[in-house]
């Protein structure tokens, strides 16, 4: 037995040596797609995800934008997605690594990544950065997080406008007059969602009660499920589940609740996603999802690349990407057309038009003094 094993192992070693020899003819290591694109003189874009793909929401949407760049602008540009995972301790070094690599443009975003990005823009002043989901301070030298970068383009999605629309839809459908916003973690972008959502609900029903709850996680679906359970139990019959993967827990809860309780998805068209799974459970979830507030990072990423190549990308400014350019919108699924009457949908379309032409001015959580948001919540949430 022992002898047999020895012979076997010897054979394996010979084979593996032979295999190495086979490769040995080509001494240069294979070039990565990035290096090939660089050599071909293409404009290279890295999309840095501070999480992992597969959230059916924001990051996947950005990745779709990268895929679209490769498909439609492939002769001039090359894009790649880099995942930093949810381990926050690696985000700073991970991002620095991407800066060192030499991409022509780096797409990064969210509140958490801003503090890592600021010092890197000083260290690599020529690096083009497209930052999403944060307002940047380009002018006020005395102000908070001053960053006078000529090479930073800030994509600011007007989530308040999209949330206004879904807030109005929620209030139309609510029997109890109580709707809830279930956010991932307390930051200004998510506050901005709430501000629009509450204003939209009040626009339709001035007496609407709009709860604000935090799941304190973007990744733990059980936290979303439990939060939603508490909300439905307290009579909030439409819940806006706004927090990546954690928010998906709201979908798990709503299918165990009685008829007449609804959920609203975020970032991607989550209702359509669940319907596309074809499972009974997926269908049940889709049937309770009245709409999703789509934040089209894919459009933002693709348009930014296109505009850069055309030389029209406004660096050094905060670019508001609103409902007018379809950067944010409310998804219309089969469920939407079933649960809303035609009149109600017409009203929704009217609201969208009014926001576009400025008849309705949507409030935002940005650029206010301290304490403004707390007061705003108190006016809209009877429990606070």
């Amino acid at each position: 037995m022992k002898k047999f094993l020895t012979v076997l192992l010897a054979c394996l070693m010979c084979l593996s040596l032979a295999a190495c020899g086979g490769n040995g003819g080509n001494n240069e290591p294979a070039k990565s797609a990035f290096e090939q694109a660089k050599e071909a003189g293409k404009f290279t874009v890295a999309f840095v995800v501070n999480g992992t793909l597969g959230d059916k929401s924001f990051f996947d949407s950005g990745n779709a934008g990268i895929e679209r760049i490769n498909a439609e602008l492939g002769d001039q540009a090359y894009g790649e997605t880099i995942e930093l995972t949810y381990d926050t301790s690696t985000w700073g070094t991970g991002l620095e690594e991407v800066f060192k690599t030499g991409w022509d443009a780096i797409i990064v975003g969210t509140y958490d990544m801003k503090e890592y990005t600021i010092p890197l823009t000083e260290q690599y002043p020529d690096q083009k950065v497209w930052f999403y989901d944060e307002v940047w301070n380009f002018d006020d030298a005395e102000g908070w997080q001053y960053c006078p970068s000529e090479n930073l383009y800030a994509m600011m999605f007007s989530q308040n406008e999209g949330s206004f629309v879904v807030g109005a839809m929620a209030a139309m459908l609510s029997q109890t007059g109580k709707v809830a916003f279930m956010g991932g973690m307390d930051n200004t972008v998510l506050d901005d969602f709430y501000v629009g959502f509450a204003q939209g609900a009040k626009y339709v029903n001035p007496n609407a009660d709009v709860n604000l709850s935090w799941m304190n996680s973007f990744s733990d679906a059980t936290a979303g499920k439990d939060t939603a359970q508490g909300l439905y139990a307290a009579g909030y019959d439409v819940v806006f589940a706004c927090g990546g993967q954690a928010g998906l827990g709201g979908f798990d809860q709503v299918i165990t609740e009685a008829e007449g309780n609804w959920v609203i998805g975020v970032d991607g068209d989550q209702g359509a996603y669940f319907a596309s799974l074809g499972t009974d459970e997926g269908n049940a979830k889709a049937a309770r999802c009245i709409t999703s507030m789509i934040k089209s990072l894919d459009v933002g990423v693709f348009e930014a690349c296109k505009r850069h190549l055309e030389g029209t990308l406004p660096y050094g400014t905060n670019d508001a990407l609103g409902i007018a350019g379809d950067y944010v919108r409310a998804a219309i699924t089969d469920t939407t057309t079933t649960v809303f009457t035609e009149e109600q949908l017409a009203t929704v379309n009217q609201i969208i038009e009014d926001i576009k032409n400025g008849t309705i001015v949507v409030e935002t959580a940005f650029n206010h003094e301290d304490g403004w948001f707390t007061n705003y919540v108190k006016q809209n949430d009877s429990t606070k």
């Binding site: 992992t52 059916k56 709850s213 990744s219 679906a221 059980t222 936290a223 939060t227 508490g230 993967q245």
Partner: protein, 319 residues
Amino acid sequence: MKILLALLEVFKNPAFYGSVLAVTPPLLFAALGCSVAQKADMTNMGMEGIMLISSFCGTLAAGYIGGPNPWLGLLVGVIVGALLGYLVAFFNLKMKVDIILVGIAMNLLGGGATAFFLPLVTPNHDRTSTNSIQSGILPLIKLPFLEKFPTLNAILNNQNVLTWISYIMIFVMAFLLYKTKLGLRIRAVGENSNAAESVGISSSKVKTIALVLSGILGGLGGTFMSAAYLSYFSNGITAGRGFIGLAACSMGEANPIPTALTSILFGFFYALSNYARTTGISDNIMKMWPYIATLIGVVIYSINKTNKEKKRRAQLSEK
């Protein structure tokens, strides 16, 4: 005052107590699992990892073998849990690796391996959850006769079958540890393995059995997460419940009943943090409560223990 009234409102709501019972089982399984290992003087640090891996394997089995078949998932989850428990024992007893290190390795493996294999084995190459395979949910226990009593009905009716099993498990474990030969041996080995060896008990065999039992309970807890709590596996689904179980176990000194009561206390505060959202208390404060309760519990416990010890010494010195 408004907050107190709102809290009172929560405590008057029977559905709240139903929720306490529904969120406790994963903590309870983990805590009981840790306690049976602890009784044999084996700290099962790897509970979190065992739960994650068995939850993952159970969900895949339930989804892929015979359509949605959660019972099969439960079986596979338990078997995988038992195997992992054995693995911990093997590395500690045979390979002489420190038990804490094995536990840490198990937790890292649990988080990493499940995230790695998830996109490889799901049809849509999902990165975060197994939403694209239907693995089903274990049945709810319906008790029609309870419908006459609305309060009890809201608390006990329509709980998952695994929830009931978890509470039954408290008494099963208490019986096993205190009324059976195996339990006696586990405790003997845990107290003093040399003494146990001297009367012909193989301590490594008993410790292995204890860890396998611990793994089985971890498997039940893991399966609860993906076949009762949620209906799919998602990355990091246990979210630290294995560690909370470990804490409950050490607070209960690894005795099944106190350990179970501590787990229920954690479950109580967990459910409270969900229900109290609508009362106007800050979510962050609510999230702190289970841990504050642990701290207070540990302090009270250690004061009691030192007092007893002092008394005992005083008595001894009088003699």
